[in-house]
């Protein structure tokens, strides 16, 4: 992809881009926090306990970690999430995976599904032409943030209170 200079963010970086640029920069520079929050532990248990029959945790190029995939008429990639709180972020993450399959792995068609096992619901994610254009733009923006020499100044937003970087940003 000449569009993106070969730089490709990880799935986590896509999520952090959509949540908070400070977190994105710190994470990309390996300033990482040990998260002992109950939410993270519950999240991990949900991952381990749900969809036990599926082949889980498929990691591609060290960039994207798929929770599980299903092969039918088309390939379906599944993402498991705990809460509805950041639906837009979850959707963007999966859109990036679909784009990655299409343009990097050259596998198409692929569908995406976000699973909320605690709510027993699913959400289908599609990639339309507009989204196809959006993803490379986001990749460029992420690359710009990650490569800037200084940390983006933290801004207080709703997710702060549950973020592993809370103490870091506000001490």
């Amino acid at each position: 992809m000449d569009l993106v200079n070969g730089y490709l963010p990880s799935g986590t970086e896509i999520q952090y881009y959509a949540i908070c640029h400070t977190k994105l920069w710190l994470f990309a520079h390996y300033i990482r926090m040990e998260d002992n929050s109950d939410d993270v532990i519950i999240g991990r248990i949900i991952h381990e306990d749900s969809y036990k029959r599926e082949q889980k945790e498929i990691i591609i190029h060290d960039k994207i970690a798929l929770d599980f995939v299903k092969k039918g008429d088309t390939l379906v990639i599944h993402e498991v999430k705990k809460e509805y709180n950041l639906v837009d972020v979850h959707r963007l993450q999966l859109m990036y995976y679909l784009w990655y399959f299409h343009h990097i792995l050259e596998i198409w068609p692929v569908e995406g599904i976000i699973n909320y096992p605690t709510h027993k619901t699913q959400e289908k994610v599609m990639l339309n032409d507009q989204d196809e254009m959006l993803i490379p733009e986001i990749i460029l923006k992420i690359e710009k943030i990650v490569h800037q020499s200084s940390v983006p100044i933290p801004k207080k937003i709703r997710p702060c209170s549950k973020c592993a970087y809370f103490e870091f940003c506000w001490v």
């Binding site: 520079h29 300033i31 100044i153 001490v171």
Partner: protein, 359 residues
Amino acid sequence: MRNFYLIKNGELIRKHDTLYFIAKKEPANSNEDFILEDDTIESFCELDDESTKPEYEKKALPIEQIDAIFLYGRISLTSGAIGLLAKKQIPTHIFSYYGQYLSTIYPKETLLSGDLHVKQALHYANSNERLYLAKLFVKGSAANILTNIRYYERQGREISPILSSIKERIDEIEHMSSINELMALEGNIRLLYYSTFDAIMPSEFSFKERTRRPPQNPMNAMISFGNSLVYGEIITALYHTQLDPTISFLHEPSERRFSLALDIAEIFKPLIVDRSIFKLVNKKMISADDFNQNIGSCLLNENGRRLFLEEYESRLQTTIKHRSLHRKVSYKRLMYLECIKIVKHLLGLKKYEPFEIWW
């Protein structure tokens, strides 16, 4: 999360994902949290076969709740136990019979940032940047010293002249142009501070002067014991950050292995160690019987260590409302937050301001 202090001889072993401490059984009515030292055996402990005997007991340690382990007794560790401690990221600090810090079994580093490491080294190598941080460590330490003795001045102890001398010295910090000058000034402030102790403490705990290796009297014994605990505590805090504990600013990096821990410990000694001592002594919780006095040395004995560690640990767990986080934070957590503030300084995100007691 809390620390575990093992002050009895024994053995740490692993069975599956549980850590067990095997030691001789305690007499009835002993304190559950602190295991008393039995100091009659000089050889290393090999209790595996004996652990089934009735005079030994095996205790499971709540590994998910342990932040760090402090070893005071002679304790054998199996490779399995060390592996489990590494997996759970629990540093284990080892102290000599005299209570001096010896070493840490440091779990494999999982938090590494090459970027921050370079920035930390550059701050050390640039003499202005280094002096800037070093001054702040001295300022923070001095401010907390001042808070401690102001309290006793308000109680009517006659220490006003020393208090004003300390204030004058604090004003000089800003004008120091080298690390050596700054270190000398810091030593000076601490001497002035210690010279108030005899006015603060009852006469049976007369302090006279600071003596180390070995300490000469009970006050010195408690200061040495407490200071090594805080040193271990900051090493634990540093382990949970990307900071390199060997690159320091006030102390020379060559001085001791984890010299950054020495820098940060200065700030917390007045709050954690000195206040523990004042309380133990002034409330008559500790007495001369809790020390082993020999010619040329004085050390806390079994009971003294237990009393000190109880007071120390409860102080670490004390919480206050943090002024910028608006959350309850323990004194222990304050030490970790101090490390985080240094990370932010090194990254250029926020100028470091040392912790000063604000309550």
